[in-house]
């Protein structure tokens, strides 16, 4: 029998009093491709980080690599943090929309060139991946100008390009559109054929065909399963009714919530949005779709009053024309938003309850006293989302799925007129997504207006009735859906 590439013996890992890994044993043989699945919060990421040497653990892991390939192990985390040229991470939410002539980060092209130099790779080997992931137009873009989906793709491109002996990817599919997912699976199969051993941490069903091993972590130990369908499901949630204050229809300031007339956004010669005309009326439930980089986030940043170029366009929000003396805080008071970017930049010192409470003030972190009534609402919403046990933990120490629920709670706590949910289920498993969307449907039953961004047609709230599709910054479809999108 071949020698194991990875031999892990009695791995133990605790966070405080919480046992994550308990005497876990695992051998990975060359050419054995694994998916680690199962519910969120079972310790998948902790295990991957232990293998990658970025987590402390007790126990022993030994590695045996082939001498001919110098690239041994690459770990791609589910959240990617880039740094500026000086190596620190002082970026802030929505910074990419404020233009300043200081070059803070490398351009995409320079970053790839640098990677090629340090890892001794040929640039030409990356071209096919760049093309497939639609990166040709981004070569001169600054890293921090990329959306979260584009960052994810850049990490994947590097991984495919490097062809390491062992490739561990945490949630490879999050934030990717259907086309990119399908390309990625083909590329994984090619990589496997060329000698890379794959370990994917994913709760998805649509996997590359080279995967033959399925496992999940149960009670701190690794348990093999027959297929991705056999992964454990999260325990059934007890059906709870919405807190009373979310069962009231919000007051609507204007029947037309959003009106955009010939809206265009340019960065130098690059046009990100082209002549957008769009109206969102009170009570409508919209789906916003488009490939990564098609302009969805930029469009939403105009509604959320985060984009400086809104002042040069004809946009009316909640009855007021932009640039007529309104403050962005007056606009934000009407809406609740959740986005991968907001999550990314969320205050790392915020506890779960503070994160939720900050939704009353539309701030990224809590800076004001709540008072009794608001505190009661926070408690009720914590209970509704089954987050009470986590309320005093730092948001960013929770499993991803729970972090998203906390951010959804933050978004809805003030019972806003308009809900903007930008890929709210990125990183969630199927169960969590279904639960999340059911909550959205229920909320929308009480007179809310919705703009929902989602990639996969099977995982959407059923209340959606209208659809706007963007391609390269232009609207290619603006239609009413008569039948259910499922």
């Amino acid at each position: 029998m071949k020698q194991a590439m990875v031999h892990s013996v009695n791995l133990n890992l605790k966070y405080g009093s919480n046992t994550v890994l308990k005497d876990l044993n695992w051998q990975i043989f060359p050419g054995q491709h694994w998916v680690i699945g199962g519910p969120s919060g079972t310790g998948k990421t902790s295990l991957a980080k232990a293998l990658a040497g970025v987590n402390h653990f007790q126990g022993a892991i030994s590695f045996h690599y082939q001498p001919e390939n110098p690239h041994h192990l690459l770990y791609v985390s589910n959240w990617y943090q880039f740094t500026n040229l000086e190596g620190d991470r002082n970026f802030y939410y929505q910074q990419r929309y404020n233009k300043s002539q200081v070059k803070e980060t490398l351009s995409v092209y320079a970053e790839l060139q640098h990677y090629a130099d340090t890892e001794n790779l040929l640039f030409s080997d990356a071209e096919a991946h760049l093309k497939a992931f639609g990166f040709e137009n981004f070569k001169e873009a600054q890293l921090f100008e990329l959306s979260s989906g584009e960052h994810k793709k850049l990490q994947l491109i590097k991984a495919l390009w490097l062809k390491p002996q062992l490739l561990i990817i945490d949630q490879p599919y999050t934030g990717l559109d259907a086309q990119s997912r399908s390309y990625l699976n083909t590329a994984f199969d090619q990589l496997a054929a060329q000698g890379t051993t794959l370990v994917l941490l994913a709760s998805d069903q649509d996997l590359p065909s080279c995967i033959q091993h399925f496992a999940e972590i149960k009670d701190g130990k690794l348990v093999e399963r027959a297929s991705a369908q056999a992964f454990s499901k999260a325990p059934q949630r007890t059906k709870k009714s919405l807190p009373y204050f979310l069962q009231q229809a919000p007051l609507v300031a204007s029947e037309i919530m959003v009106r955009m007339k010939d809206v265009s956004i340019n960065y130098g010669a690059k046009q990100v949005l082209k002549n957008i005309n769009w109206e969102v009326k009170a009570g409508e439930k919209w789906l916003l779709q488009g490939h990564n980089g098609s302009g969805k986030s930029t469009l939403l940043s105009l509604i959320n009053a985060d984009h400086p170029q809104a002042y040069a366009n004809d946009i009316t929000l909640f009855g007021n024309k932009r640039g007529s003396g309104e403050s962005i805080w007056e606009i934000k008071a009407h809406l609740g938003i959740i986005s991968p970017e907001m999550h990314w930049y969320f205050d790392p010192t915020a506890k779960v309850w503070q994160c939720i409470a900050s939704g009353f003030f539309d701030s990224v972190g809590l800076f004001q006293n709540l008072g009794y009534e608001r505190q009661q609402k926070v408690n009720q919403i914590l209970d509704f989302f089954e987050l009470t046990a986590y309320k005093d933990q730092l948001l960013n120490t929770l499993p991803l799925g729970k972090q998203r629920l906390a951010l959804l709670a933050r978004t809805i706590i003030k019972n806003p007129e308009l809900l903007i949910l930008d890929e709210p289920c990125q990183g969630l498993d199927l169960e969590q997504t279904t639960h999340f969307n059911a909550v959205v449907d229920e909320l929308c039953g009480y007179g809310k207006t919705l703009i929902y961004v989602g990639h996969f047609e099977t995982q959407l709230p059923s209340c959606i009735e209208k659809k706007l599709i963007l391609e390269n910054g232009a609207v290619i479809a603006n239609e009413t859906i008569f039948e259910s999108v499922i």
């Binding site: 740094t83 000086e86 190596g87 620190d88 991470r89 002082n90 802030y92 939410y93 929505q94 910074q95 404020n98 233009k99 300043s100 002539q101 200081v102 960065y267 009053a305 985060d306 400086p308 170029q309 002042y311 040069a312 003396g325 309104e326 403050s327 962005i328 805080w329 007056e330 930049y345 205050d347 790392p348 010192t349 900050s358 003030f361 539309d362 701030s363 990224v364 972190g365 809590l366 800076f367």
Partner: protein, 493 residues
Amino acid sequence: MANYFNTLPLREKLNQLGVAEFMDITQFGDGVNALKGKKIVIVGCGAQGLNQGLNLRDSGLDVSYALRKEAIEQKRDSWKNATDNNFTVGTYEELIPAADLVINLTPDKQHTSVINAVMPLMKQDATLSYSHGFNIVEEGMQIRKDITVIMVAPKCPGSEVRAEYVRGFGVPTLIAVHPENDPQGKGLAEAKAYCVGTGGHRAGVLKSSFVAEVKSDLMGEQTILCGLLQTGSILSFDKMVEKGIDAGYASKLVQYGVEVITEALKQGGVTAMMDRLSNVAKIKAFNVAEELKQIMRPLFQKHQDDIMSGEFSATMMADWANDDKNLLTWRAATGETAFEKTAAGDVKIGEQEYFDNALFMVAYIKAGVELAFETMVEAGIKPESAYYESLHETPLIANTIARKKLFEMNRVISDTAEYGCYLFDHACKPLLADFMTTVETDIIGKNYNDGKDGAVDNQELIAVNEAIRTHQVEQVGAVLRKAMTAMKAIKTA
């Protein structure tokens, strides 16, 4: 132009130095109303200019940018910053005459020429705002009597001013009205509205005066903020290398150590910084700091005296007139120090290790913060002003050293601060020469606790803790920090 401060009678000097009123959010109930519908024209579009303008516009105010003709014609960065963000940009002649509020956010050195160009164009009864009072106080610029002169000075870099605003908070801000130029008594209302527009009202506002701001700002930036960190970094590094500590390790310990150590200072004052040490180490650091304070006190007093008398600004302005000869020579010399030229080693240093292995740095920062604060207060500056210009800004400057060492610090700070920094550094190093011969690696480079059993005398520890905690900088700091607890932590690399 005569030094404004020196023209005042003593009673008025003391009167203006003593303005320091801490204002909390409840005093800003009128929001931006005093500026609503008024034309705001910002002169200059660098980091402060752009980011303050973005915030003011997002608060519902009417903002445009006046730039010099050449900057527009040559499409310089300031022009691009403003136009890329869809602001109206025009020449002084085009925009200033209609302005109700002109905000001068150009570098200090250009103030005289900018004001001379702008003032004749300003309409009757308009308002002129500064973010630093050097031009008014030290250069003695006289502003037309119908014009109201205010100051709004966010105590953070421009990018932070924006970052805190978009997350729904703000940065601590200092506001002032120049008593010689408040003909209609509207200055304070407009300064408050401007402050609300940038988000500063949420993080604690200090009402100061032009005089108090300048005299404390110059003192703070020369001594504790820049000079002291520069001297301390170089002395620590050289000592470690002299005693055989690996140069890469020494470089990293100093470069990132100042940031990690002052992060504790930022969150909980000198007390929190000292509490990061073990009891034995804390007592040692306390004693080292006492010794350092004794040695350095005359130097701090000389700096404060020269600032008060105008001697400092006169010398510096003479260097400006001499094409910055001294400044440029000193800048080049700093770039050549061994600390500057030794890259941080590829070694992992744990957060606690930055305290345990750099006891000298902790003691040195404590000595500097307390000395700067004490010297300012003795000179008639109020404790609140002295706190902002000593302890509050130290972590912000340390952050620039962590980014790219002293060269970066001196690039980011104003030329005025840089000039004062070199003056201090060159006087301080010889002053500490004898003391440095007594320093061993137990207090810089290695863990002070190694080989000790940790035992301390109860009475001694109690006395040391008491002395640290009851210092005036700690008492005033506790109140001011409460208003800005939500400030984002500086992230460490």
